[in-house]
Symmetry: C2
Subunit: 603 residues, 2 copies
């Protein structure tokens, strides 16, 4: 691999010299600012060999470096070993920013490049400003070097696009477009360019399979006052999808035609979210409307209204989630009943149990795949927050200690995301203590009532409080939105320490997933998906509460019940009763008996 | 009064017509962006008759309106009654902004004015932008209309300036200036213009008495690499103050000379905080440095580093706070012992008990005055968050129901701010329930441990949680910093729902003051001043906790003990033990006996 990387870097440098460029920057995204991308856009992985889900590679004429965050410090160091790439640990004291590093590596006034189609307008704008401060480095954005050097580059995917039935979506396309246009008018805008793939799938009640674990399809949606056009590879449309688009009056145009179409945009104002739309398309929009300045064309660079609409689930979507959680719960119960005896019998590893769980889920009706790659992390691996088992690291499981299992599936009626930490046998007192504190954190958030419109930033400390009290903390978010048979990570709301002002409202899904990670020892995380529900109306306004969607027992073996408050204990026993009541009718006798024991009240 | 206001408005309109202006805007601040101002700058009150601490008056050729927030809706409506002023309720649906209102009142392209010396650069910049969007209204900023029309305008105050002894300040001026210059160098700046009066008093270890309840003096401090100049009315300096300035090499210049001095600023870069420095002075600085562009003069518009430095109290200041709290506690115990019998005996009112409490505080050594006007609010008045009793509203106290008493004093060694809600006799079950929930909220925050550097926005929900759970909420902040013999409201940190990113660190003071207000019925607030202290160092970083500074019993009469958790009960009993232990040695026998009963454990 190292040799392959060296060859690729040399091919790149040849292009850099030809184009009189000093460096090329490879971020981890695509023309749609996706968190997870199709292989076609995995240029950062291709040039560096680093496969994590976040990071930026920069190659200059003389050097190479890769920036990534703490989740990937260990994995990146391993994958970059032997290559020219230097690992840059983000948010660690002394790590330069990309611009600072380029400022040291380049001559003043040098030109560097990235593909402006594959970075958001706001990211590129910030980078241009930062580079200017580094001795006036300039940025070229119209050069997709990968097209020249990436031989055998995977094609843009061509998975079929199918309708998402109205019985699961709960709102038809006309209604969604009407609401979007209303929201646009409120900010004095006639239309918008939608680039986010899950927003497009949601708006059009269509699903695809272009991105691993994300049922989306590569496309743009251009909405104006009178028309809507989907820019997509027409061959991917099943006849049902095509018929649905026709029914709702959506025009179809080639994916590659969006830039040209923006030049002929028929209205005066267009909204383009600079965190969503690529720099190149933003420039195209500005140029397009500049051609109609006699009509006072204006590009409104505001946040898209769609994520906040998509975040509030319809009644049908809420029903779907509850149904999907039953099927997911059945698969999990079968898995958990099997797990401990299988580990005791020997021969199981992190990857083997992952395969078994996936097989059990795949048996369930309406299953469409995983919603993300399973994290099955035994003991010390559990302390690596985004551990991804590989044949090299795959650990054999022994009947002792803690297994952290974070997994989820896509069903046509809902998306699941669950973490359980399971005692495979005897655990230490410290493991019990940490496990119980994490469970307290998890329960504290579930018990909360809060005012309609509060932000996740405001709620975050409620979960962390029992951990803080013991001098513990975790650096990831406490919760994220979950799509309805869409991406498992969904905005705009999040529950986390950093500032996320998006208001929480009834109908939103959000995970509750505190954790504690003791490096080299073990990790604990406990995660359910919650649905925000109205709690009460008082003179002080509307208050909200959480309904727990996830249905799966929480292991009581590693529990130190003495650390739970009466409220917390009550919640745990009530939750287990709910899990039993909902799942038992769908289980055969041995599974049901196992579940009865797993959910019996503790005190 | 109404007639007086009409006369003043007419005088103003005459000037508007003469200057070809459409309207004049009167905000509530001064050239130092003070929260509370000297009478000289109370132009908004003079023109409108509204005396609250926040609000903006706007008078056009044909109309007049006053914007204020929910704290003052009732008081403002009363004070504006019979005048031309229309009350604009801020943050209520349908209330226009000042710019929107002017957009409707003015012809397009009209010119309006405010005194650019009396609004911060950021406020004026925002207003200019907002007005431009309203049909291109322009803003004139170089016209202090009050100098022409306000006959008998109070002079700029001339209270004597005295040194704050090092035994209380704990850090000398050289050390503070060195640290300020270090902070400035970190943002590549040579000096700064300090306009905030409490920042100047803190930096120079001086105190004045120019502003009611705030021991500050009207001045500017200009710091450059090699020199520091205090712009102040020299006659106000006592010889001790003058000597201290000389000792630390601080030059003295006339208050009015700051604008001219900025033209001759000797260094290349100057920091001017746009939220602190007035628009007019910011323009003067920019013009000044523009004259030296051959030297690349730059105005760095960043937040001042001083508030964050001042917020962390020295060991001497922390000692001083503890001492001042003992004396304040002694006065409060004497007051509380007197209160209930006095009310039962009859003849007491909100204002009479305020006078008595103030007299008891004034007997204490090192007393220098109140830190804010006492809020003594009986029953329904307690639901008016910023109630200020007047002879018209002054309510007689009866031996029943709840008295909300929010008060504080300035001592040379510390500033106090305390709220107690007191049962003057029998209370209702609902009063007990609300009182206990507010106490729970208060205690929950005090019990918290949290990571060093967390923001007040993150911690706020910890206090609100028990209230939210019952469908209750309050709209003010949960806590603010408190100065060391300085302003009772001090930044940069706050604990509140809105986003306040300033990190919390050990050594900072902060209040803990949740409340609940039932309109027309009663209000409850319970407030202590806390000091942030280190709690522990772990693998997960530094954790902080609160030390309670305020020493005064919390009334247990209106308490429903059954609503408290064991932790909360333990805190309350421990706190009362602390109050007794600290205050008893300073009390005579009758007060001590009363305190023993007031602090006896509940269960």
């Amino acid at each position: 691999m190292t040799n392959t990387i060296a060859v690729r870097i040399e091919a790149l440098r040849e292009e850099l010299r030809r184009e009189n460029l000093f460096a090329f920057i490879f971020p981890t995204t695509d023309p749609h600012n996706s968190e997870y991308t199709a292989d076609h856009w995995k240029g950062r992985e291709w040039i560096s060999g680093f496969s994590g889900s976040a990071g930026t590679a920069v190659v200059t004429l003389n050097s190479a470096a890769l920036w990534t965050d703490s989740r990937y410090f260990i994995a990146a160091a391993q994958q970059l070993e032997g290559s020219e790439f230097q690992l840059m640990r983000e948010r660690i004291a002394g790590t330069p920013t990309i611009a600072e590093w380029l400022g040291r590596e380049c001559d003043p006034g040098a030109e560097v490049a990235l593909d402006g189609m594959c970075s958001s307008a706001s990211t590129v704008k910030e980078l241009i400003d930062d580079l200017r401060k580094q001795g006036g480095i300039t940025l070229r954005t119209n050069f997709d070097v990968l097209q020249r050097i990436w031989t055998n580059r995977p094609a843009i995917p061509t998975a079929p696009i199918v309708p998402q039935p109205l019985e699961y979506a709960g709102e038809d396309v006309t209604s969604k477009l009407t609401r979007i246009r209303q929201a646009l008018r409120q900010v004095h805008t006639d239309g918008m360019l939608m680039a986010s793939l899950d927003d497009i799938a949601w708006t059009l009640n269509l699903r695809g399979a272009d991105v691993h674990c994300n049922p989306v399809f590569v496309s743009y949606l251009l909405i104006s006052t009178r028309s809507s056009t989907l820019f997509v590879d027409e061959a991917k449309l099943t006849s049902a999808a095509r018929q649905q688009l026709q029914q709702y009056g959506i025009s179809i145009a080639p994916y590659g035609g969006v830039k040209e179409a923006l030049r002929h945009y028929p209205d005066y104002n267009i909204l383009a979210d600079p965190d969503e739309v690529s720099y190149t398309l933003m420039q195209a929009i500005k140029t397009g409307l500049a051609g109609i300045t006699q009509r006072q064309g204006v590009v409104v660079t505001l946040a898209s209204p769609v994520p906040a609409m998509k975040a509030v689930k319809t009644q049908a979507e809420q029903r779907g989630f509850r149904q999907a959680m039953i099927r997911d719960g059945v698969a999990l119960v079968r898995f958990l009943r099997w797990l401990k005896p299988a580990v005791a019998a020997g021969g199981q590893t992190e990857m083997s149990i992952d395969r078994h769980l996936t097989a059990l889920r795949a048996e369930q009706p309406l299953y469409r795949g995983l919603s993300f790659d399973t994290i099955a992390a035994y003991q010390a691996h559990g302390a690596i927050v985004h551990y991804e088992g590989t044949p090299d690291t795959d650990a054999p499981l022994r009947p002792e200690g803690l297994l952290l299992l974070d997994s989820g599936a896509q069903y046509v009626d809902g998306t699941t995301d669950i973490t359980r930490t399971i005692a495979l046998g005897p655990v230490t007192d410290e493991q019990c203590r940490i496990y119980t504190l994490v469970l307290k954190a998890h329960i504290q958030l579930q018990l909360l009532r809060f005012p309609d419109g509060a932000s996740g930033t405001q709620l975050d400390a409620i979960a962390r409080r029992p951990l803080w009290h013991a001098g513990l903390n975790f650096l990831h978010g406490t919760g994220h939105g979950v799509g309805a048979y869409l991406n498992v990570h969904e905005g705009p709301h999040q529950i986390r320490m950093e500032y996320r002002p998006a208001p929480l409202h009834a109908g939103m899904t959000v995970t509750d997933e505190p954790g504690i990670y003791l490096e080299g020892q073990f990790g604990v995380r406990i995660e359910n998906v919650l649905l925000i529900q109205p709690a009460m109306e008082t003179d002080f306004g509307s208050f909200l509460q959480f309904e727990t969607l996830t249905l799966c027992p929480i292991d009581t073996e590693p529990l130190d019940v003495s650390l739970l408050t009466p409220d917390e204990l009550l919640w745990l026993n009530d939750y287990h009763q709910l899990v039993y009541d909902r799942l038992a009718p769908h289980l055969d006798a041995p599974d049901r008996d196992w579940l009865r024991i797993a959910t019996q009240p503790v005190s």
